[in-house]
Every structure is written in C-alpha cells, then in structure tokens.
C-alpha cells in the first residue's frame, strides 16, 4: 500500500497523524484563487516537475505507487517479467483544463500546444507506467469521486480474469482551480474545516493525494514466497440512476453496492468490524450514507470518515481510503473521525470520537460519487496477521 495526502507523505507519516488525531487544513498556496476556502494540500512534496495541469497528479500517483511496490516487496526489475496492470482513478488528470491555454485561445486566437500535448500524453495510468518503466495494461477510470475505488475493483477483475498477475490500482488527484470553483458554485464547499456526519456540517474541503494498492494473484504471491497481510475479499458497485449530483434519497445504489460486496465475499453484515465511510461533510451525502450504513449494519457499527484528515481528494479518495482501511486492519486500531462533535438526530449512527481497537478482521470502505456511483470495497486481514 502506498499513500500520500495531507496527513503524510507515506503510510508511516499518515499513521503518525492518525495517532495524534492531527489535521492540517490550511489556506491555498498551490495556485491563486479569489476563493478563500480551507484546503488540504500535500506540503513538503518535492515534485520532479513544475506544477501544471496533470503533472502533479502524475507525481502524486508515482510517489504512492513506489511506496506500494516497496511495501509489497516488489522491485521494478521483477515486474519486467510479470504481467502487470495499472488501473487508476482520477478526475483532474483526465481533463484538458489549462486556464492559460484557454485564455490565450480566447483572447488572441492562438495558444501554445504544449499543454495539449502534455494532456494527450498524460493518460494517468499510462504515464505512471512510463514513469516507473513498467510495460503494463493501463486504464484510467473517471467515475468522479468513486474513481479510485472503482479502479481497484477493475484491477481485481483483471486478476480474476487472468489478464494480470499484479495490478497497481487506486486513485490520484491534485488540488485544482476547476473543482475548487465548481464545488463552491454547487454550494458544497465549507468555509470551515469539514465536519463529516456532524449536525452542523457545512460541506466539504478539497484535498489532494494518491492512494495505491498492489493487488497480486494468489498464485503469483505464492510463487515468490510472499504472504500478503491483506486480501481484497469483495467489491460491489451500483448506480442510483437518480440524479447528476444528488444521491438517491433511500441510498438505493449504496445499499446494493454493499450487498454485492458482502455477497461476493460470502459474508454477512455482522462480519464487518468497521466501515471507512465516504463521509464528505455535505448535508446530503452524510445523511444518506449514515442512514444506509445504519440500516445495513445497525447503529452500533464502528464507523468513521477520514475526510477530516485529508479533505475530499476526489478521484484519489477511494484509493486513499482503501489504504487507510487496510492500515487500520493491519494496525488493529482506528483513529477518531475528526470534525464530528454533535450528533445529527436524523443520522442513526455515530462516527468514532476516539482511538478504537478493532474487533474483527474485515472492513468496508465506501465511495459515493457524482452521477450516482456507489462502490464498496471489502478488505480483510489475512489470518494470523492481527496487529
């Protein structure tokens, strides 16, 4: 597993932040904007390339991928003789959203093609493969805020279908002016640090980062004598088929996705130790997600949102939160959900307020996105690996 986001440049630093229940929302420094909203930037990150459209996302993804490969005890040379896939979710890196290019086109009728060429060559998964020097099947999933989780599900299917032995899967997104303006326009951005599931939540804060898992077929892991600590036991995805930006009022798609993930793994709701929820801090998401989780798992389910540590990292969120779920299982404890203070009486479930020991071996990470996408990843601790 590899992760880079506001709480840390790697999983070790991230765990330190979780241990300290430390959150670092701040003012925007990466680009200029008239909007003064709290954001979760990745600081102290020395990108090899100057910041520009798509490139920072690529740097974040490559950084997390390298950590994930090291964590899986895989070196790049070994991957040259293995069938490898790279499946990554993103939002920003899939768009040609270079303001300087468009300004020149609009005002003087001509513009440098450099940003265009960078975009055309910058398919995230393909670019990460090239940067790491890996020949791989590559696909870039653009399912808005569930992209990272969906990319992990696709990666798992590549392995199940025998297309790959190893897949680097997850998500990455940089902080960018387009979504900053867009979420503000939608009335979904909070002027204060986000408060997932809290009664007085005002909306989300944007963040950035990358979270990547190394998925490996059991046969390949066995052939190199590697015993992974975690297993992707199941996944499910379903669409609300309801509205472009609003979730279905009954959580229809999320309920179906959770059901599919449990069914694929052969589990019951009672087998789940905790859920790392999408929990953005917006009114609708938290209400519907909270009610759905309570309906499926009961109100006593240990649950949290890690958005209070990372902000909403959009296409990276599903990847990062899958990593956080895996880390929690491996460590045996959960951090408190930052931002939650007061119960919303409409939500019959309460996020964790303090560090909590995990009782059980299986957990779910949920992702919900624009367009009504809902995805659930069921991750399990390999027997005997309890932290």
């Amino acid at each position: 597993m590899g992760a880079i986001s506001s709480p840390g440049l790697n999983t070790a630093e991230t765990l330190d932040s979780f241990r300290a229940a430390r959150s670092r929302p701040g003012h925007l420094t990466l680009f200029e904007s008239a909007l003064d909203l709290p954001v979760f930037e990745v600081t102290r990150f020395e990108a090899a390339h100057p910041y520009s459209d798509g490139v920072r996302t690529r740097e974040l993804a490559s950084h997390a991928a390298r950590e994930a490969l090291a964590d899986a005890a895989l070196d790049l040379a070994a991957l040259k003789t293995t069938s490898v896939g790279i499946c990554l979710g993103t939002t920003v890196a899939s768009q040609l959203n270079d303001l300087a290019f468009y300004r020149d086109y609009k005002t003087i009728g001509c513009a440098s093609m450099a940003p265009v060429k960078r975009y055309l060559k910058g398919n995230l998964a393909e670019a990460v493969g090239a940067e790491l020097g890996i020949q791989a099947i590559t696909a870039t999933v653009t399912n808005a805020c569930s992209s990272g989780a969906d990319a992990i599900a696709v990666g798992a299917q590549w392995i199940e279908a025998g297309l790959c032995d190893i897949v680097l899967a997850g998500g990455a997104d940089e902080l960018n002016r387009v979504p900053l303006c867009g979420f503000h326009a939608l009335g979904l951005s909070s002027p204060f640090p986000c408060k997932p599931f809290d009664k007085h939540r005002r909306g989300l804060n944007l963040g950035e980062g990358a979270g990547i898992l190394v998925l490996e077929s059991p046969a390949h892991a066995m052939s190199r004598g590697h015993r992974p600590a975690l297993t992707l036991c199941g996944y499910g995805s379903a669409c609300d088929a309801y509205h472009l930006t609003a979730p279905h009022p009954d959580g229809r798609g999320l309920r179906t996705a959770l059901g599919h993930a449990l069914e694929l793994a052969g589990f019951h709701p009672g087998d789940i130790a905790f859920v790392n929820a999408h929990g953005t801090g917006t009114q609708d998401n938290d209400l519907i997600e909270g009610c759905t989780l309570a309906a499926v798992f009961g109100p006593a389910l240990p649950m949290l949102s890690t958005k209070g540590y990372t902000g909403h990292t959009l296409g990276a969120a599903g990847g990062l939160e899958a990593v956080f779920t895996g880390l929690a299982l491996r460590e045996g404890w959960l951090p408190p959900g930052i931002g939650f203070v007061e119960q919303d009486e409409r939500i019959p479930i309460t996020p964790l307020r303090e560090h909590t020991k995990i009782h059980g071996r299986f957990a779910l990470s949920t992702s919900v996105g624009f367009g009504g996408n809902n995805t659930a990843l069921l991750i399990g601790l390999t027997r005997g690996e309890i932290g």
Binding site: T91, S94, V178, A238, A241, L244
Partner: protein, 358 residues
C-alpha cells in the same frame, strides 16, 4: 467467454440509427464539410448532421444535457431498444460502461470561460457538474434506469477496448446479465482549433488509411455508438465478441473474414499499420466514412457488427489502386468473422475479434 452484441445504436456523421449507417456504408466516401475556426482558418470535418440531437422524446430529464451526453444517451437508448429485452428486466443487473478519448472537453472549456469571465466565485454550477467526465454516463443511467455498475473510462488510447474488457468481465463474473457499453467523442470549437494546430488536413478531403504514412492526414469526426452486450445470445444478435486485447500486435489466430484497420490519421506516424495489413486477410477501413477519432473504435465496431449480422461486406471507401487485398465491392456474402485493429505509437494494438451469429 464469448459475449454477444444484441443491440446497436449509433449517432455519427452518418446520422442516427442503423438505416443511416447502412446507407452511408453503401454510398461510400463523401467529402467532409468545412467549418471556419475562431482564428480565421478553415477545418475540414465530419460532424454530426444538423438537428440529429434535437430529439425531445426524453423530456425534461435531458434539457440541460450537453452535446456529449446527448450523443451517448441517444445511441445507448437506441441500442437498448434494438435489443428488445423484456420489460421485466432486473435493472440492478444491467450495467453501463462509457468510453471516451477526450471526454466532455467542450463543457470543460465552457467552464474555463466562466472562470475567466465571471471569476472564481461566480461560475455556473450546472456547467461544472456537466464538465465532470462521468456526466454522460449519469444521464444514460438515470434516463434508462440502469441500477447496476456504471463506469466511465476516459483516455486517449483504447478507452473503448478497456470498456469492453470491463463489460465482459461483469458478465463473466455474473455481476450483470447485460451491459450497455459504448463510446462517445465530440468535436467542439476549441478542439477544432487544436486539431487544426496539431493534425495535417488533406487538401482533397480524403483520408488514406492504406497509405501507412509517416506523416498522415486527418479529418476530425465525432460520434457515439453503443452495444447491448449479453452473456447469452438473444434472438437477432449481431455478433459474438470472442476476444479483446490491448497488447503488442499479434496476427489473429485464424485469418478473419475481414480485417478492419482503424488507421485514421490520428497517430503521428501510421506506418505501423503496414504490419497488420500484411497478415493476408481481406482488408477494409471505414475511417473515410466516420472521420478521424482517437475514440473511433465504437463506430468501426458498429460497422463490423452490421456486416456480420446482415452478411454483407461494404466496399472500402477510397480503395484506390492499392495492391492490398481490399474489400472493393459492396456485396452480400458469407462473413464468418471480423477483426478490428487500432494502433498506438508505442507499439500497442487494440484488437477486437467478432464472429457471425449465423
């Protein structure tokens, strides 16, 4: 596993629907239209016909949909209708995969315009939400009530091939009974300017897919095609999809009845197509009908599916005096299989193998 193409919908420069597709393939090459660009230059293109997206039958649900979303919705709805599935279909077992090379770029540029014109705090929320890459899929899913898994794949090369892999895996894993899978790409004014700047337009308006040129010519097109893919063939199936791959090019295991090369001038160097062209199989290329599109594979597959279902071969447009074994005349004939090959400059090939349902 074999997945079956049980329904087909298309919106392209040929028009909307199978009748217009069939007519266009029968009639062969027609010259592109020329559009003026903002910088005063002209650009030959193959755009959608005027009015083809004016369909109001979907009502208020699509009144705000942008061009890309309408293209995807209309072709996906036609594919679903064409498959004649029972009305009792379990919508939770119907999936959707939308592929696009360049995504909703016209709406993205419209949103950038909002930022520059009105400032960061005064932009339109509607334009932003439509610029998100999966907005087209969201429209298709909500209008057609698709409650299974829904995915959008946006990448310049092989987005449609990966969409087919995902769709077939959903069927193989028993996650879905049917999957609507297709692709959509639009040609907006800014993209026209980009195409004019980075592609070479032919003076005579002719695409030459068998020139294998190191510096090819291109005529941008736009369009969308969707397929209803099923694990079990339905009556009236178009074709079986036997294989999909994205890997270095290898010849088909058995020579196909027709090998369709997707050379369309969108690569910087198309000389690599000479290798698959020398496989010995009968060749065709239909990019002179549809125009140049890095995301054009769904349109090419629509032509292939129609030929396999109706057991007809459409003549390669602009065949010229090539010595290659090209399909030169349109005629009814037995066609057991078709193989599609699209190349990437890095040596990778996207290949799709279809067989006749007959």
């Amino acid at each position: 596993m074999t997945a079956f193409l049980d329904g087909l919908g298309i919106v392209a420069t040929t028009g909307r629907g199978l009748d217009s597709l069939r007519s266009a393939l029968q009639n062969g090459w027609r010259p592109p239209v020329t559009i003026p660009l903002a910088d005063g230059r002209d650009l030959p293109v193959y755009p959608l016909p005027q009015g083809v997206l004016d369909d109001k039958s979907f009502g208020r649900k699509v009144r705000r949909a942008d061009r890309l979303a309408k293209m995807a919705l209309f072709s996906a709805a036609d594919a679903l209708r064409d498959a004649r599935l029972p009305t009792t279909l379990d919508r939770r077992r119907l999936g959707l995969v939308v592929a696009s090379a360049l995504g909703s770029h016209a709406t993205t540029f419209e949103f950038l315009d909002e930022i520059l014109t009105y400032g960061d705090a005064e932009v339109s929320p509607t334009i932003f939400s439509h610029s998100v890459q999966n907005a087209a899929a969201a429209y298709v899913a909500s209008v057609l009530d698709i409650q299974g898994p829904v995915m959008t794949i946006t990448q310049v090369h092989f987005a449609f091939h990966h969409a087919l892999v995902v769709a077939r895996q959903w069927l193989a894993a028993g996650q879905c009974d049917h999957v609507l899978v297709g692709g959509a790409d639009e040609l907006g004014s800014v993209m026209g300017f980009i195409c004019r700047s980075i592609l070479r337009s032919p003076a005579d308006g002719k695409l030459l897919p068998f020139a294998f040129a190191k510096d090819p010519v291109a005529i941008p097109g736009e369009g969308s095609a969707f397929f209803l893919l099923s694990a079990v063939a339905q009556p009236g199936s178009y074709a079986g999809m036997e294989a999909i791959s994205v890997a270095p090019w290898v010849p088909p295991a058995t020579p196909p009845g027709l090998h369709i090369l997707e050379a369309d001038g969108t690569l910087a160097d198309e000389s690599g197509y000479a290798v698959p062209a020398s496989s010995g199989a009968r060749l065709a290329a239909y990019s002179p009908i549809f125009g140049s599109m890095p995301g054009g594979s769904p349109l090419q597959m629509a032509a292939s599916a129609l030929m396999l279902k109706e057991q007809i071969c459409f003549a390669t447009p602009l065949a010229g005096d090539s010595e290659l074994p090209l399909c030169r005349t349109t005629a009814s004939q037995q066609l057991a299989s078709a193989h599609l090959t699209r190349l990437h400059c890095n040596g990778t090939a996207g290949q799709i193998q279809l067989t006749s349902p007959h």
